[in-house]
């Protein structure tokens, strides 16, 4: 594990982040309820580290990351970002106009390498667009920068006059990474960047991300559902369930001793690529509850093997149970859960 440099203030501090989507019904489209997609998420991100955000579909991990980027406006909470000159700004409440300078500093890598590039633009225009938006008017200047970026991600600069269709999935993902890096970002939000790729190509892109982070001192928020991938790339991991964080911990600590039954169940569900390891029994029963109508108390209690009466009535807080290891379980201290 790489060392996380210590700073006075973290690069990003997310406090009580909320995003509710209204449910409208009937002819008058009256709002009858809310989907609590992100319901009070707190975490910090230190400069130069990778935080993995995992969870199953619908848990709110993508919505949370989009709120941080202000691609959508959060309903509540704070996204405190430390600028290059050491000021702390709340991105969640900043008006659109004042967000502009931060757009370049926080960039995104998308999941689908086929849908995220404009098929009618050459690589030069695809990768160079953020530069143009950022005010780099001279085409020759942009050409030089794009050539440099393509080399950085392991593509030949001559490719810049070609269109995206000429490239494979892995190459397109490299193009997407080049575009994200064009503005010299400090924070990169990567939403499932390798889940659409073939196994042999996935490893190449993971290696590239690790290498770029080292070279450019990038900070990553890595959103994914694949636990093995998240474990491989992250310094710390945050686990989401129905719009809330249930556990946040350093990677080694989380995987060797998970403190939340949901995290342990997630780990057990990953099929082990070794036929000599018997399949884990006791798959998690039931379904992920709807964030429009979450259960009472601990959101996980209806599916939890260890649930007790208290779990159905009292909502457990996210609390620290070991150094840097936070969990949202009443019985974290009593339970001994098997890790990977």
């Amino acid at each position: 594990m790489s060392e996380v440099p210590l700073f006075d203030a973290p690069l990003l501090q997310v406090r009580g982040l909320q995003k509710f989507f209204p449910i409208a019904k009937g002819f008058m489209q009256r709002v009858t309820g809310h989907v609590r997609a992100v319901d009070g998420v707190d975490f910090t991100l230190n400069e130069g580290e990778t935080l993995g955000l995992v969870g199953e579909s619908g848990c709110g991990k993508t919505t949370a990351s989009r709120c941080i980027l202000r691609a959508i406006d959060p309903t509540g909470g704070q996204v405190l970002y430390r600028t290059r000159d050491g000021r702390v700004v709340d991105l969640a409440s900043l008006p659109q106009r004042e967000l502009a300078p931060f757009r370049a500093e926080i960039q995104m890598i998308f999941q689908d390498p086929f849908g995220s590039l404009n098929p009618r633009m050459t690589l030069l225009d695809n990768v160079g667009e953020p530069l143009l938006v950022g005010g780099m008017r001279s085409r020759s200047e942009r050409t030089d920068r794009v050539a440099e970026l393509l080399k950085l991600v392991g593509l030949r600069p001559e490719f810049m006059h070609r269109f995206p269709h000429a490239f494979s999935g892995g190459q397109r993902q490299r193009i997407g990474i080049a575009r994200a890096l064009s503005t010299n970002p400090r924070l990169v939000v990567a939403d499932e960047p390798v889940s659409a790729l073939d196994v042999s190509v996935q490893a190449q892109v993971l290696n590239l991300l690790l290498e770029l982070q080292e070279r450019l001192k990038l900070t990553f928020l890595f959103v994914a559902h694949d636990l093995s991938v998240v474990r491989h790339i992250s310094d710390r991991v945050a686990v989401m369930y129905v719009g809330q964080l249930v556990e946040v911990a350093p990677t080694a600590s989380l995987f060797s001793r998970p403190r939340h039954p949901y995290t342990a169940a997630l780990m057990r569900a990953v099929p082990v690529p070794d036929p000599r390891v018997p399949p884990a029994d006791g798959a998690l029963r039931g379904e992920v509850p709807s964030p429009a109508n979450p259960p009472s108390g601990c959101y996980f209690h209806p599916r939890c093997r260890f649930a007790q009466a208290k779990c159905a009535t009292e909502t457990p807080p996210l609390r620290e149970v070991a150094p840097g290891h936070m969990t949202r379980c009443h019985f974290a201290d009593e339970l001994t859960l098997a890790g990977a």
Binding site: E56, V199, L206, R231, A269, P271, P275, V277, P278, A283
Partner: protein, 350 residues
């Protein structure tokens, strides 16, 4: 040795399905794509055979060829697919007309498919129950039995209960879009089981669903195999699923079988450089973190630009001069295991 799947006693029962030197080509304007180029494997009753490979390796086309569902301009160029039916008669499926009554009687009733996207496989304008009831009545009619709608409905409710759908009496009347991903896949499995097929083809059945749901579906499939002795062909790119579900594995790359053998040998003594590279390149829940993963250099070539010689040679760490010009034949390299690689034998394809 503990195996995820108890090994099937080999050669006691004759194979249910024998695929021999199957070749499927797609004649396109840009040239002929050899999507499947000489695949052979057997499936015995109750056995789970895995076909693993990356996109474009021909795993799904192989499955479509078995069901005679290859769409134009694709066609089965050569090879045989022998299926042993309930009466013990051997039928060469490639001789049957894809739209003819014999093939229709086999599809669903003898060989059933669990598709990757249950959302796309169910009609959104009919209830899931009505679609399964229709299939049951249709196949009963084909085999000359009369069955009433009420009886078919009872069978469907029973199937829903078998695959672990709670309150089946209500769920039978829901539409596919009202069900969650896991329930939809269970309903699809119930449909595939509705005519008690002897062979199930599962094409990436868990790729579109979450891990905890995947664990439930895999457990269900294991249980069904135990209960009904159904043979399964499991197509996936996930090596974890292959290790946990299958007893015999076929590894494909660009339409060709690189290696095949019993699951334990494929994972613990792989012979082909592609199999070895594939196994090394997956991050696991146990290895070193934040270190460079061993990678397979380069990327998957486009099917039109298939390399000459061994299709894997441009990316192979152990490629020799010969690999670029001659195509190795799949030959035995161990107990029940075969590899197509010059590292292990000299034989090249004519």
């Amino acid at each position: 040795m503990v195996c995820a799947m108890p090994p099937i006693p080999i050669a006691i029962e004759p194979p249910l399905l024998q695929v021999k030197d199957l070749r499927v080509t797609f004649g396109l304007d840009e040239g002929v794509v050899r999507a499947v180029d000489g695949t052979s494997f057997d499936v015995r009753p109750g056995e789970v055979v895995g076909i693993v490979g990356e996109s474009g390796c021909g795993k799904s086309v192989t499955m479509r060829a078995i069901l005679q569902l290859v769409d134009r301009p694709g066609r089965i160029a050569s090879g045989t697919i022998l299926y042993r039916d309930r009466n013990g008669a051997e039928i060469n499926l490639t001789n049957l007309s894809p739209r003819g009554p014999e093939m229709r009687a086999i599809r669903g009733a003898e060989i059933a498919l669990i598709p990757q996207e249950p959302m796309a496989a169910f009609s959104p304008v009919h209830t899931v129950g009505s679609q399964i009831i229709e299939a049951i009545m249709l196949h009963a009619g084909q085999s000359g039995r009369r069955i009433t709608k009420a009886e078919a409905r009872e069978i469907t409710i029973g199937l829903f209960r078998d695959v672990g759908i709670s309150i089946p009496e209500q769920r039978i009347d829901s539409y596919s879009w009202q069900l969650s991903g896991g329930l939809r896949q269970r309903a699809m499995i119930a449909m595939a089981l509705s005519c008690q097929p002897r062979l199930l083809i599962a094409d990436e059945p868990t790729t579109a669903i979450d891990v905890t749901t995947q664990a439930q579906v895999l457990e269900l499939l294991r249980e069904l195999r135990r209960k009904y002795n159904t043979a399964i062909i499991f197509i996936t790119h996930d090596l974890g699923v292959i290790a946990q579900m299958t007893s015999y594995v076929v590894v494909m790359y660009l339409g060709r079988v690189m290696e095949q053998g019993p699951v334990d040998q494929i994972f613990h003594s792989p012979k082909h450089p592609y199999t070895r590279a594939l196994l090394r390149s997956i991050p696991s829940l146990y290895g070193e973190t934040r270190t460079a993963l061993p990678v397979i250099a380069g990327s998957l070539p486009h099917p039109f630009n298939r390399p000459a010689g061994c299709p894997f040679h441009p990316r192979c760490p152990e490629a020799m001069a010969r690999c670029a010009v001659a195509q190795p034949v799949l030959l035995p390299v161990g107990d029940n295991q075969a590899a197509a690689c010059f590292l292990h034998h000299e034989e090249a394809e004519a």
